[in-house]
């Protein structure tokens, strides 16, 4: 079989597949539906997962490689209700813990506390609801790269004097002071009034959360107004290489403050950039497994659909197969013909799924907070996968066609 002849047969078979699709659109669509769903799933889910990966990675990276977190509740795993009740009885973390770490460890450059709660924020008659109100030690700015668009961040002094000042995210500013400069104006959270001293730079959305719908204020001002609450400590080592030492010191210092005996476990949790990343990837592993499962099932269904239609095709075209044999088609030619037809059919399904998947990803990206974006390599992967499904599903019908006896095939009406 010369390569020119092979090409001619493949081209003819692809034309045949295309003509079959055009002649019977509904039947063809139903045939490739499984492949369409499979490819759609793969493309859309990869887009979502990749989008999440990028935004999570950047969020965790923003923390800085030298920074780790200390918290009352574990950050890298879920807890059972019983465990939750037990942890709830542990003492809250406070800014004084952070001060103690800063003071006692040579490996810790800075430690700051942040307390967060959700409040409705008002100015005059206007209201911004569900705003993240955070109390921060002022040194937080240097750890987490808070960037100002206007005005300034609050100072150590304002923190020390528990001044009712705050910095707002642009969303809050737009909501409460449309068209106006919020700096120098007041807003109220609950019964408390705060002077706005600055507006943060826009940060966008992450996991559906508007990162700009925030009010930051000094930790002490927050606790004065809303009570102590449970703080998360951001601890920055002197450099990335010293994270282990700083981590060790932070744990020792906190255990000392809490007078834990050597036999007792920590009653708090620490998370480094690394552990946050690895727990995220563990979650994503589960998502991938679900995706692979959905794709595999729909491609299996798609394969069955294609095998079915190819069996119908072989039966319908028995006389044609007989003719081709009479004209000198070998078994290999007939296998090639029906395989390329099946692969052509399933590739069309893959292509439709590709378009649907990309559309779905775009839709998800625009109406939901999930930053979905179609990954370049998922396109050839989905198409090759779809074509392979066709080839595997077409194998049996193709062999059936190749094995037909020419006389019997020609006689069939």
């Amino acid at each position: 079989m010369s390569s020119g002849a092979r090409l001619a047969i493949i081209a003819e078979s692809l034309r045949q597949a295309a003509a079959g699709i055009m002649a019977n659109k509904l039947r063809s669509l139903l045939t490739v539906l499984g492949v369409v769903i499979g490819a759609t799933t793969v493309i859309a889910m990869l887009a979502v997962v990749q989008g999440l990966n990028a935004s999570v990675a950047s969020a965790i990276r923003e923390m800085g490689t030298a920074t780790f977190l200390v918290s009352k509740y574990p950050m890298t795993r879920n807890v059972s209700f019983e465990e939750y009740l037990k942890i709830q009885r542990n003492p809250d973390l406070t800014d004084s813990d952070a001060r103690a770490m800063e003071a006692a460890s040579p490996w810790i450059r800075r430690a700051s506390a942040s307390v967060t709660n959700v409040h409705d924020v008002r100015a005059g008659k206007l209201e911004a609801s569900n705003v993240f109100v955070k109390g921060l030690s002022s040194s937080f700015a240097e750890i987490s790269d808070v960037k100002m668009a206007q005005g300034r961040l609050f100072t150590e002094q304002e923190n020390a004097r528990r001044r009712n000042v705050c910095v707002i995210g642009p969303t809050v500013g737009d909501r409460l002071f449309p068209g106006l400069d919020p700096v120098g104006k007041h807003l109220t959270v609950g019964r408390h009034s705060f002077l706005i001293v600055g507006v943060l730079k826009e940060r966008g959305k992450m996991f559906g959360q508007d990162m700009d719908s925030v009010v930051l204020m000094p930790y002490t001002s927050y606790t004065k107004a809303f009570g102590k609450g449970d703080a998360t400590l951001s601890v920055q080592a002197v450099d990335t290489e010293r994270v282990p030492q700083a981590l060790n010191d932070a744990i020792t210092i906190l255990r000392g403050i809490r007078r834990l005996k050597a036999s007792e476990d920590n009653d708090f949790f620490v998370a480094t950039q690394e552990t946050l990343m690895s727990s995220y990837y563990k979650i994503m592993g589960g998502v991938y497994a679900v995706m692979v499962g959905v794709a595999a099932i729909s491609l299996l269904v798609g394969g069955v659909g294609i095998m079915n239609i190819m069996l119908v095709s072989v039966t319908e075209r028995t006389q044609e197969i007989g003719l081709r044999k009479a004209m000198g088609a070998t078994r290999a030619f007939l296998v090639l013909q029906f395989l390329s037809e099946a692969a052509g059919l399933s590739s069309v399904g893959g292509l439709i799924g590709l378009l649907f998947g990309a559309g779905l990803a775009t839709l998800v990206g625009s109406v939901s907070p999930i930053p979905a974006r179609v990954v370049g390599w998922s396109v050839p992967v989905a198409l090759v996968f779809a074509a392979s499904v066709g080839i595997i599903a077409g194998l049996y019908p193709a062999l059936m066609a190749a094995r037909l006896h020419p006389v019997e095939a020609l006689r069939r009406e």
């Binding site: 045949q16 009479a326 000198g328």
Partner: protein, 230 residues
């Protein structure tokens, strides 16, 4: 008749089919020699074994017993793909029902055997155009079968049989699906092919078709009952 000129040499051919548990003896010892440039009609009532004989001559089937020499090569023991190669290069088929690919143009239909023969696209086009012209369809080359009359379709089929320049052209009831007038046209075409030096074997039960041939082989019950010049 010297053995050197034997194009087809069938010796003691038997063909037995199993229909369920019952053996059916379609051919019971057929000896035929056909020389190049002959125009032979194989006749017989239905069930006489003439279709079976045509299938064996056309290398579509192999005999159960006996020897078949095609151009002095013993083809009775060849496998499927070897038989396919002989059909491709040596035999041109014309069927009662034309058997054209409905979605392909006349030209693409004629090119089909050349595709399997590994002929380049350019050569295929040229050779298809030449034989289509020969059968008088130069202006119908790009029409699909549905756009052609019955006679034109059969002429496309004849062109397809001719395009490989085969050793024999085998026609099975070539006028069976045509009206009388069109049938006569096809027979005239066969006559001119024969005059041009082609070897033709026509299987028919129609005496007027057989009368066109120069030799008639009559089969009855799987045996040759008569073999004479027409």
């Amino acid at each position: 008749m010297t053995s050197n000129s034997r194009l087809i040499d069938l010796q003691g051919i038997h063909k037995t089919y199993m229909v369920g548990q019952v053996p059916v003896h379609a051919l019971r010892g057929v000896d035929v020699v056909i020389e190049p440039r002959e125009y032979v009609a194989i006749m017989g009532p239905s069930g006489s074994g003439k279709s079976t004989l045509m299938n064996i001559i056309g290398c579509l089937d192999v005999p159960s017993q006996g020897a078949y020499f095609f151009e002095k090569q013993d083809v009775s023991g060849l496998n499927d793909d070897q038989l396919a190669a002989i059909r491709n290069r040596k035999i041109g088929f014309v069927f009662q029902t034309f058997n054209l690919l409905p979605r392909a143009t006349a030209q693409a239909n004629v090119e089909l055997p050349l595709v399997y023969g590994g002929v380049s696209a350019r050569d295929r086009r040229q050779r298809a155009a030449r034989v289509l012209e020969q059968v008088g369809l130069a202006d119908r080359m790009h029409h699909k079968p549905a756009e052609l009359s019955g006679g034109q379709r059969q002429r496309v089929a004849v062109a397809r049989a001719l395009v490989t320049n085969p050793s024999i052209i085998l026609a099975d009831e070539p006028t069976g699906n045509l009206d009388t007038k069109t049938g006569v046209e096809i027979l005239a075409l066969f006559r001119s092919l024969s005059d041009d030096g082609n070897t033709l074997i026509v299987v028919t039960h129609d005496a007027t078709v057989a009368a066109e041939a120069r030799r008639i082989v009559r089969l009855v019950d799987g045996k040759i009952a008569e073999d004479r010049a027409a």
